[in-house]
Symmetry: C2
C-alpha cells in the first residue's frame, strides 16, 4: 500500500483479523472455540471496501473495513477511510427504528476503520436473486418499511430540531462519499468525463444525444442542487437492490456509507429505479425455457408495493409519532384542523413521490452512461441484447425527468414500462 494512512491503520488480512477479533471477548465468545478454529474468507465484491466473513464453532461475524482508495478503480482514486465511521454512525442512529431490517451492528474499531456486524446467512444480494429469476415476496415492503421508519424518525416530523441538528452536524462531514454521488450520479454521466462508459458502439448515439440535451442537463442539475440542499432526513444514500440482502423470508438493508441528511426521495427513487431497470433487463436473461416475462412483471409489481408501503407507513408514523418542529402539533389543536393537516401531510408525501421520479431518472441514466453500471445489465453478455434494453431504460429515465407530470402514481411507472 503506497497511500498514506493514519497511524494505527492497516488493511486487515487473515492473521491480523484473527488477532483483532481474539482481543475482543464478546466477539470471541460469539464465534466460539479458539482463533485457529475460525475460518475467514474475504468476499468484498463492492467498489470500496474489504469484507471478511468469519465462521467459528458457535457463530459467525462479518467485518467490513475501509480501504484508502476506490477498490473498483485502484489506488489511482484515493478515498478517505472515514466512510466506515459514517456507516457505523448510521447503523447506530437508525438502530432504534430498524430492528430486524439491517444487519446487527456489534463493534466499531476507529483506528482500523473496521465495522464488526452480523454475518447474514444464507442471504444473497437482492439484485443477484432477481437477476437469477427468483422472487422475494416480502423484500420491497421490508425495504419500504425500513425507509419509512428511518427517515420519519430522523425528519423534522419525528425528531426535534436538536436531534436532527446533531445528525446534520455529524453527517455533513461525510463529504468524500457525498462528493462521489455528486460527481458520478449527477455531474459526470451527462458531461464529458473520462470515468463514463457505455455499451459502445451501440449506445454512442444515445450518449451523444443525451449530452447534447441542454434541457435534460439542467433538469438533472436541478435534482443535483436539491440533493445537496434538501436536508429532510437521514437517508441511506445508496438504497438500490445491491444494498439489500434477502432470503425468501428475511430482508436486510446494508452498506449505508453514503448516508447523510438529504432528500428522502433520493432513497425512494434509487430503489424504484433499480426495480425498473431489473424488470427491463429480465428479457436479457431469458433462456429457452423461460422468457422471464413473468419475472419482469413480478419485479415491476413490486414498485407499487414499495411505494404504497412506504407512503402509508410514513403517514401512519406521522399520525402516531409527530414530535418534531415541522408542522408542530401545538399549531393544530382545533378540531377543524385535522382534515386540513391530513391533506398537507398527504401533499408532502405526494411530493416525495415526485422527487422519487426525478431521482429515479437521474439514477438510471448514471447506470447506463456513467461510471458504475448495474449487474442487471452487465451480466447480459451479448451487447446486441444488452444495448436495446439499456436504451429503453435510459429513454424512460429521460421521460421521468422531462415529463414528470406523466408519473403521478406507481401504476403510471408500471404502465410506462409495459408500453416500452
Amino acid at each position: 500500500m503506497t497511500l498514506a494512512t493514519p497511524a494505527g491503520y492497516r488493511a486487515l488480512d487473515d492473521a491480523s483479523l484473527r488477532d483483532f477479533l481474539a482481543g475482543l471477548p464478546d466477539l470471541r465468545d460469539r464465534l466460539g472455540g479458539r482463533p485457529p478454529d475460525w475460518s475467514i474468507i474475504e468476499v468484498g465484491d463492492g467498489n470500496l471496501n474489504l469484507v471478511f466473513l468469519i465462521d467459528g464453532p458457535e457463530g459467525s461475524l462479518c467485518v467490513k473495513q475501509s480501504l484508502p482508495y476506490v477498490r473498483a478503480a485502484g489506488e489511482s482514486w484515493p478515498l478517505p477511510l472515514d466512510r466506515a465511521f459514517f456507516e457505523q454512525s448510521y447503523y447506530r442512529a437508525v438502530a432504534p427504528y430498524s430492528e430486524g431490517l439491517t444487519p446487527r451492528f456489534f463493534y466499531y474499531q476507529p483506528e482500523l476503520y473496521a465495522i464488526v456486524m452480523e454475518r447474514l446467512s444464507p442471504h444473497i444480494i437482492l439484485r443477484r436473486g432477481l437477476i437469477e429469476g427468483r422472487r422475494y415476496p416480502g423484500a420491497a415492503a421490508a425495504v419500504a418499511e425500513f425507509a419509512a421508519r428511518s427517515t420519519f424518525a430522523t425528519s423534522d416530523f419525528g425528531a426535534t430540531l436538536e436531534e436532527k441538528a446533531e445528525l446534520m452536524s455529524t453527517f455533513a462531514r461525510n463529504t468524500s462519499l457525498i462528493r462521489i454521488t455528486a460527481e458520478v450520479v449527477f455531474t459526470d454521466p451527462l458531461a464529458n468525463s473520462p470515468r463514463n462508459r457505455w455499451t459502445s458502439p451501440a449506445l454512442d448515439g444515445l450518449a451523444a444525444e443525451f449530452r447534447a440535451d441542454s434541457a435534460l442537463k439542467v433538469t438533472v442539475a436541478e435534482w443535483g442542487r436539491r440533493f445537496l440542499t434538501e436536508a429532510q432526513a437521514l437517508i441511506h444514500g445508496d438504497l438500490h437492490t445491491g444494498s439489500v440482502m434477502v432470503t425468501e423470508t428475511d430482508t436486510r438493508v446494508m452498506d449505508p456509507e453514503f448516508a447523510f441528511v438529504g432528500p428522502i426521495g433520493f432513497d425512494i427513487g434509487a430503489f424504484i429505479a433499480n426495480l425498473v431497470m431489473n424488470a427491463i433487463a429480465q428479457a436479457g436473461h431469458a433462456t429457452p425455457g423461460d422468457d422471464r416475462k413473468a419475472e419482469a412483471d413480478w419485479v415491476l409489481s413490486q414498485v407499487p408495493v414499495f411505494w404504497d408501503t412506504f407512503s402509508s407507513r410514513f403517514l401512519a408514523l406521522w399520525d402516531e409519532k409527530a414530535r418534531g418542529d415541522a408542522y408542530p402539533p401545538a399549531m393544530f389543536s382545533n378540531p377543524g384542523d385535522a382534515a386540513v393537516l391530513a391533506g398537507a401531510r398527504k401533499a408532502f408525501v405526494d411530493r416525495l413521490f415526485a422527487d422519487a421520479i426525478g431521482y429515479a431518472g437521474v439514477k438510471t441514466i448514471r447506470r447506463i452512461l456513467g461510471f458504475a453500471h448495474n449487474a442487471d445489465f452487465e451480466l447480459i453478455a451479448d451487447p446486441a441484447r444488452r444495448a436495446p434494453l439499456e436504451a429503453k431504460s435510459a429513454r424512460l429515465a429521460r421521460t421521468f425527468l422531462l415529463e414528470p407530470h406523466s408519473f403521478r402514481t406507481p401504476d403510471d411507472i408500471v404502465a410506462a414500462v409495459k408500453a416500452l
Copy 2:
C-alpha cells in the same frame, strides 16, 4: 445571576470590561491612552445581550456579550451563551464577501462569549431612522448587495460541497437560536402560546380568526418545514431593518447570531416584510406638518430596489464565480447550453422571490400576533391608531401566504400595499 454558567464566564461590567480590553494590546492601542481614560457605556436595547460602547482618546470599540437568558424576558427564559460563538463564526465566514457592509470584527473571547468589533458611529438603526421619517438612499441596495454576496458565496453555486459542509456542520449546532425562530416565528403566533400578545382588544377578533384558519396554519407550517430543511446557503437569520445600522452614506448589517445554513428567501423575505411594515406604519407617525405619505411611498419604493439589486447581483455572481457542485460548469460546456442554463438560473432566483413572499408573510404575522413586536408599530402610542395599521399588515401577510401567485414581482407588493 442565579443561572449556572461555564467556568470563566462572568457578565462584564465597567471594571471587568476595562481590565479585559487592557489585556489585549492590539485593542488597547486602538483605543489609545490608558484604561482609566476610556469611557464605557452599556447600550444593549435588543433582546439577548449586553452591548458596550468604549471610547478612548484615539479610537472606539463595541463589545457584545451573551447573557445566559433572553434579556427581554428575564431569567425565566434561559438561553445558552454560545450564540456569540455563532455570531463571530458568521462574521468570519462572510468577511471575504462583506467588506464595508458589516462592522469590522476584531476579537472573540470564547470563555466570556464576548465579541469585540468596530463601533459604528454616527450610525443609527435603520428601523429607527425610517420611523423618524428619514431616508437612506443606499441602504436597501447595500443590504441586498450584502445578502447576494454572502449567500451566493456560501451556496452550492459559489462554494464547494466541502466548504458548505463545514458551514453546515458548524452552524447546525446553533440550535438555541434556531429553536427560538422555529417557535416564535413559525409556531407560536398561530397557536395558543402564553408568549403571544397583540393590541387588545382591537385585534382580539383578528387573532382568533387567524388561529382558526387551518389553511393559513398549514401554509405557515409548510414554510416552517422549509425553514428547517432547505440548506441553501449561510443566511443571517434575522435580517430585518433592526439588524442594519446606517448613516446617509454607509450601511452595515449586524447581529447575525441567528445564522445557519438555511433558505435564502428567509433573509430576503424578512427585509421585505420589515420595509412593508414600516411603510404601512408611517401613517401612525404622521404629525400635523407631515402626513408621512411621501415617506411611506419612499420606503415602499425600496422593496423593488432591494429585490432588483439582490437578484441581479446574485445572478451576476453566478455568472462570474460559479465554482460549486450544484449546476456544475462541467455539465454545460456546449455552446447550446448557455441559454438554457441562464433560464434555469433565472428560474431559481424567481423561486427565491416566491420564497421571500412566503417568509415575509410569516415574519409579518409574528410581529403582530407573536412575542416580539416591531418599534414601527409599537411606537404608535395610541392603540386606536396602531391597531388598524397592524390589521392591514396582518391581512396583507395572509394574502402573501394564501395567494402567493398574486405576487410575482416586487411591484405587485407595492401595488398591494397602495391598494390597502
